[in-house]
Amino acid sequence: MTISVLAVDDSRTMRDMIRLALNGAGMETHLAEDGQHGLEVLDGLMPDAIITDINMPRLDGFGFIDAVRGLDRLQSTPILVLTTESADELKAKARRAGATGWIVKPFDPEKLVRALRMVTG
């Protein structure tokens, strides 16, 4: 079954790279430009996993995860956080917000795919 993933990042370059990596791995990719947009996209979507950036306009990654976890149907959907800093504190914060795991930018496409497989089974 095709894994469908929603990727939320305000950087077009990042979105392009994520799409390239995921499509290359046969996954179905949906994109959003910030947390707010991500929630709008989720309105009609039930992805197998979500990838989100932290620093974004309008609604940042933490707020986005918080909002996603508040939706019953997405409560246990795996969420990976994309971050340039791998500081433990940030990971802890992401985890507190309800993230499943994290990917440190610049990400290795294979690693991203592996991480997604890790959380989607």
Binding site: D10, S11, R12, T13, M14, D16, M17, L20, E33, G35, Q36, H37, L39, E40, N55, M56, P57, R58, L59, G63, F64, D66, A67, V68, R69, G70, L71, D72, Q75, S76, T77, P78, I79, T84, E85, S86, A87, D88, A92, R95, G98, A99, T100, G101, W102, V104, K105, P106, F107, D108, K111, A115, R117, M118, V119, T120, G121
Partner: protein
């Protein structure tokens, strides 16, 4: 087709330009003091995103510089650094250099460290270098150390029949006793890093894994982890229930009731195993160690404290109780929670609601599509053809003598209306705001003022004004030169300004606005104004004008546009680059634009550029000269005249002038100038177009007849014919005929001025 990574790389640099623009905007807002709390975040994000993308393409210099810049911005964001004038100057400088590094990276170059290093040093001086090294270290993705403690094997005290069975399995049974291995006589327990291997090079890891409730709440799923372990090698697992299982209807889905002990036989190393558990580290009890069979057997012999519920060993490929747990979600913890934990839900739900309602209030960003410019140009050309075709159709209908109230005619009117709308919409696609151009000028002012030791600041207005993309690109050079001039020649020195009672910091103003179908761009300064006596003296000295003439202010100001003029006593290294205002003027003219200047002594100078909105169409006067139909750009025509014999005077033997509102204007016969005929004996009753040039000089061009006034599609001749004197381009008229679009300024400057018949020529012509 092409390498997708290359495409993304190209698109990254386009995004960088947008981010740099946002950065400039933010910095401007910060320095103007009209920033809100979000401004610094926007600035931070811009630099952060550049860094993130740069990392993906291994652009080390860009990552490094952006990182240092980002640190300083983060300090401002975090409130540990406050913004003052000095810091803003540094940030602006960083923005400039960041854009240099972006462009160098784009061209696969490295910016000279002599440029970046001093600014990085300044940044470090401001923020300090703390935490930086640490962070760089952390860029390494290696997971933080997991427990390698082989003492964890004691956990196996709980091992039972299952484990005994496990030991009986053929592959695991082959495990040698490391202690007796002749090639490795070091006991593995004392050498943690030295991983013993079986004969076939495989290692056996023993993994103790006890999830905490948090693990399930975050969306992690033990089953998936086990599957990944299976990818590494053979997995034997054993489940332990760490409490009495409640009845199904009392089961808390997120309660962590199970612990696992796993034996993994693999050729992977420990870090690969640890990586699988990266996301759950800290939210489970995890022990990864090398399995020592002898010790294990010892443990197996020991009595377990809490005998775990025995579960059959799971041979990986076959379905076993373990996968079943996942396939029957409600029965075991790793499943999605039907009853969400109340606390986070309430909070998060309200967050989601807030976000939702926000979403409905905030209009989402206008969607954009990136299109290859070639495609747009093709569309522009096609629409041009459509306009021509429509005109031809209209002409045929008129010629067919159909009444204007016939259905065909009214349908055609509607068609014309639509065509015009389509054309305008297509032109709008090519139009871009002048903002990017204006932002680059901010840097020019900063650099120019530093170079000449003046304090200056750029103020811009009308950045959203849109103009054709090509016009914007071709404006960059002339505008750069004008801005440099304004700083270098326009603004006075700080002392002179102080003496004149002006603020020390000079202002260069750059504005854009739409004015009657054209875009007007003004560059002005609040400097000393044009020193007219000095300008006139210099022009005389250089032989540009005869000495001792009485010139109007306007005429003196126009001397600035003459070739080879420079008012600076000493040519500075700034504007004295061999490019004068004459070059600026010709660049502007080439865009169909006009430039003029006004100046008030002591108050400043202003240069005004008026440009057409597009290079694709122009409003033209369709005229007849002999048998030829020609188009004269409407923008050049001040008025049309019907000549009276009494107003025409001879000036010398072969040229004539005409009196227009008490001023004599040279009379040029276009038919003669273009070689279609010899000058006429009399021009009484002829039609003339009064042309006004940028410098205010005027000329009357005689045509035979005025046919029409309409918008025409410009078809360049440059590619096929090069520059044709007096001709700007061509167009196709409604009747399908090609008409030349004249360039009045060029015609006038190259004119023979002969409007009186030359007897010799007349003889030849018969």
């Amino acid at each position: 087709m092409s390498d997708p990574m290359q495409e993304i790389r190209a698109s990254f640099f386009i995004e960088c330009e947008e981010l740099l623009e946002a950065l400039q905007d933010g910095l401007n807002a910060l320095s103007e003091g009209d920033a809100d709390s979000e401004t610094i975040n926007v600035v931070f994000r811009a630099v952060h995103s550049i860094k993130g993308g740069a990392g993906a393409f291994g652009l080390d210099q860009l990552v490094g510089f952006a990182h240092k810049f980002e640190n300083a911005l983060d300090a401002v964001r975090g409130g540990t650094l406050s913004v003052d004038d000095e810091l803003m100057q540094l940030f602006f400088k960083c923005g400039d250099i960041l854009s240099d590094v972006v462009r160098a990276s784009r061209d696969d170059e490295t910016l000279d460290e002599g440029i970046t290093a001093p600014v990085i040093a300044e940044l470090i001086a401001v923020v300090g270098d703390t935490g930086d090294e640490e962070e760089e270290e952390e860029l390494d993705f290696t997971p933080t150390a997991l427990s390698l403690d082989l003492g964890g094997i004691e956990d196996l005290a709980g091992a039972d029949d299952g484990m005994a069975d496990l030991a009986d399995l053929p592959d695991l049974g082959d495990l040698p006793n490391p202690g007796t291995d002749p090639t490795d006589d070091t006991p593995p327990v004392s050498a943690k890093g030295d991983e013993p291997a079986t004969d076939d090079g495989l290692r056996v890891f023993k993994i103790g894994f006890s999830p905490e409730p948090e693990l399930y709440l975050g969306g992690n799923e033990p089953l998936f982890l086990f599957r990944l372990l299976e990818d590494l090698g053979d997995v034997e697992s054993q489940i332990e229930v760490n409490a009495t299982l409640p009845a199904l209807d009392e089961l808390q889905p997120n309660a962590a009731l199970l612990n696992w002990t796993i034996l993994l036989r693999t050729n992977a190393d420990q870090s690969a195993v640890a990586e699988i558990f990266e996301f759950v580290e800290g939210i489970c009890q995890l022990d990864i160690g090398l399995h020592d069979p002898s010790e294990a057997e010892e443990d197996l012999a020991g009595a377990p404290k809490d005998p775990p519920a025995p579960l059959p060993v799971e041979p990986p490929p076959e379905p076993t109780p373990l996968p079943e747990t996942a396939e029957n979600p409600p029965s075991l913890p790793p499943a999605p929670a039907p009853n969400p934990a109340p606390e986070p839900t309430a909070e998060a739900a309200s967050g989601a609601d807030a976000a939702k309602s926000n979403a409905s209030k905030t209009p989402s960003k206008s969607a954009t599509v990136r299109v290859d410019l070639e495609r747009i140009d093709r569309l522009v050309n096609l629409v041009g053809e459509l306009v021509i075709n429509q005109a031809m159709l209209a002409q045929s209908v008129t010629e067919a003598g159909l009444p204007s109230n016939s259905p065909v005619s009214s349908g055609l009117d509607e068609f014309q209306h639509l065509t015009r709308n389509i054309q305008e919409s297509v032109m709008m696609i090519r139009a871009q705001p002048v903002k990017s151009l204006f932002q680059r000028m901010g840097r020019i002012v900063r650099e120019a003022s530093t170079a000449v030791g003046k304090d200056a600041r750029l103020v811009t207005e009308g950045e959203a004004t849109e103009i054709d993309k090509t016009v914007i690109e071709r404006l960059s050079d002339p505008l750069t030169h004008m801005i440099r001039n304004a700083v270098d020649h326009g603004l006075e020195s700080a002392e002179d300004r102080a003496a004149a009672g002006k603020p020390e910091r000079g202002i260069v103003r750059l504005t854009a606005a739409h004015r009657s179908g054209r875009v007007v761009i003004e560059v002005s300064d609040d400097g000393g104004g044009i020193n007219r006596p000095k300008v006139q003296a210099l022009a005389e000295e250089r032989g540009l004008i005869p000495a001792g003439q009485s010139l109007s202010d306007q005429e003196i100001d126009n001397l600035l546009f003459m070739a080879g003029f420079s008012t600076a006593d000493q040519v500075s290294n700034l504007s004295g680059r061999g490019v004068g205002m004459d070059v600026v003027k010709s660049s502007i003219s080439a865009l169909g634009g006009r430039i003029s200047t006004t100046s008030t002594p002591g108050r400043g100078t202003s240069f005004s550029i008026s440009l057409p909105l597009t290079l694709a169409v122009l409003d033209g006067m369709v005229v007849r000269i002999e048998q030829e139909t020609m188009v004269v750009p409407l923008s050049a025509i001040a008025e049309t005249l019907t000549l009276n014999e009494t107003d025409i005077r001879a000036l010398g033997p072969r040229t004539r002038v005409v009196l227009v509102r008490e001023e004599f204007v040279p009379l040029l016969d276009l038919g003669a100038e273009l070689g279609y005929r010899t000058p006429r004996a009399s021009y009484a009753g002829c039609v003339a177009l009064l042309i006004v040039q940028e410098d205010g000089s005027r000329a009357a061009l005689i045509v035979d007849r005025i046919d029409d006034q309409r918008q025409v599609v410009i078809k360049g001749l440059q590619d096929s014919y090069g520059h044709v004197p007096g001709v700007a381009a061509a167009t196709i008229l409604g009747d399908g005929k090609i008409a030349l679009i004249l360039d009045p300024a060029d015609l006038i400057s190259n004119a023979s001025g002969y409007s009186t018949p030359d007897p010799a020529l007349q003889q030849k012509a018969g």
